[in-house]
Amino acid sequence: MSLIEEQFTVSLSVNGTTRPVTVPARRLLSDAIRHDLELTGTHVGCEHGVCGACTVLLDGAPVRSCLMFAVQAEGHAITTVEGLADANGRLHPVQEAFRDCHGLQCGFCTPGFLTTIAAALEEYEPGADVSDEEAREIVGGNLCRCTGYQNIVKAVGRAQEIRTERAGRADGDAATSAGR
């Protein structure tokens, strides 16, 4: 192995923006996101896949960004916690629910919970019920040392309520504009 590591230039598509980064092969995706792209919303906890803090969405599905290399991410669409709110800055239902339910304290683990729950709720139609047991299953792979999880579980249910409310409002808007 030579002293100077070979560098690879990779196009990373994160939150709808594609930017090139030049990294050694061993650069973890989590580090590329934080250090090369300076998107520090993604937090790094254990760096071996246990804690879930670094979870991002890869083509919509949650993955540990510490268990992927940046060079492997070319051609995939990555969503980080910064990409959850909509273009107008309105919080994602899961973010709003965490605020409503006091689902975070120190906030270190929160980005991983938000991305994980946001992806999991896509499996549910608005209006569908998410039981507490299902909520626990959804967040089972993420560690939080502050909250004791109770308010996070509540936030999952609340997020689904907000999705339902927003869907109802969108339907109402559509009906109003159709009636005009």
Binding site: M1, P24, A25, L58, C66, Q72
Partner: protein, 299 residues
């Protein structure tokens, strides 16, 4: 917790990959899902010279069912894909029962079933499932050669398989369940999704009169390799509804030789073998009845 430096190759064809593996030999390590390999790198428990990333090779994905009902899973199939696959589930429900217990969704979205088998971790769910279904691993090497290695011959020890450095595991085949056979999978971990302290994959086969005719079990986190134990002697000929599953669990506990570690003592693991076996066999027997009735209603 950063991986050591390594060379990186991401070939786009199988031929190129096999050529690289032949050339690099022991210096190369195959990277598929990376959910076991990357932690090992980050903890500096391994330091391969070059990682050969197979994720860009077309044709290594896909799940297919053979005419005899085996489920063949390509090297790039993620656990999540196998978990969701209805044809695999109807061919062998044991696959979904076990895959749903593999770590967490975020790990299952990236980790591959074939890679999990190739990793040969005795605490891995899919190694036990490959063993109890009498499955095999298809391995390819440069020059176009392919061979099928049975589960029995594949697993040599903890994290050790008979896969040679120049070979790539291109698919795994999980064997089809026999007629009138039910299955169950149970594991116990300290926290959901953690490595199990003990897990049991079992099958129960009934005869035409509903009596138990064959009982098998494979365990995780109990021995160096996923051995399959024949527990038939404890319960053969007994009606399924009143079979002495406790005796079968006791027989299983006498056949295994677990080691203790930080997470569970050897005695505790042996006790878990007895208890999980007893519970799983009762479930598997009920499953056998359900599947037999289902098969009859299809005729």
């Amino acid at each position: 917790m950063k991986p050591p430096p390594f060379g990186y190759a991401a070939p786009c064809t199988l031929e190129e990959t096999l050529g690289l593996l032949a050339e690099l030999g022991h210096d190369a390590k195959v990277l598929a899902g990376g959910q076991s390999l990357i932690p090992l790198l980050s903890m500096r428990l391994t330091a391969p010279h070059t990682l050969v990333d197979i994720n860009r090779i077309p044709g290594l994905g896909g799940i297919s069912i053979t005419p005899k009902g085996s489920v063949v899973v390509g090297a790039l199939v993620r656990h999540a894909e196998l978990l969701a696959d209805e044809s695999a589930h109807s061919a062998n429900p044991l696959l979904r029962r076990a895959t749903s217990q593999v770590a967490h969704p975020a790990i299952r979205n990236r980790g591959t079933t074939c890679g999990s088998v190739a990793h040969a971790d005795p605490s891995g769910e899919m190694t036990a499932i490959l063993a109890i279904t009498g499955g095999s691993v298809r391995v390819a090497s440069a020059g176009g050669g392919q061979r099928d290695v049975s589960a029995t011959d594949f697993f040599l020890g903890p994290l050790e398989s008979s896969l040679r450095p120049d070979e790539l595991a291109v698919s795994v085949r999980f064997g089809a369940p026999a007629a009138r056979t039910g299955s169950a999978f149970l594991e116990l971990a300290r926290r959901r999704g953690d490595y199990a302290m003990c897990g049991a994959a079992v099958t129960v086969t009934l005869d035409e009169d509903g009596a138990v005719s064959d009982v098998r079990a494979a365990y995780l986190s109990v021995g160096p390799v996923p051995e399959v134990h024949d527990l038939s002697a404890a319960v053969t000929g007994q009606p399924y509804a009143s079979a002495d599953w406790v005796a079968a669990g006791a027989l299983a506990a006498s056949l295994v030789d677990p080691e203790g570690d930080l997470h569970a003592s050897a005695d505790y693991r042996r006790r878990l073998v007895a208890v999980l076996t007893e519970r799983a066999l009762a479930q598997a027997a009920a499953d056998a009845v359900a599947r037999t009735q289902e098969a009859a209603s299809c005729l």
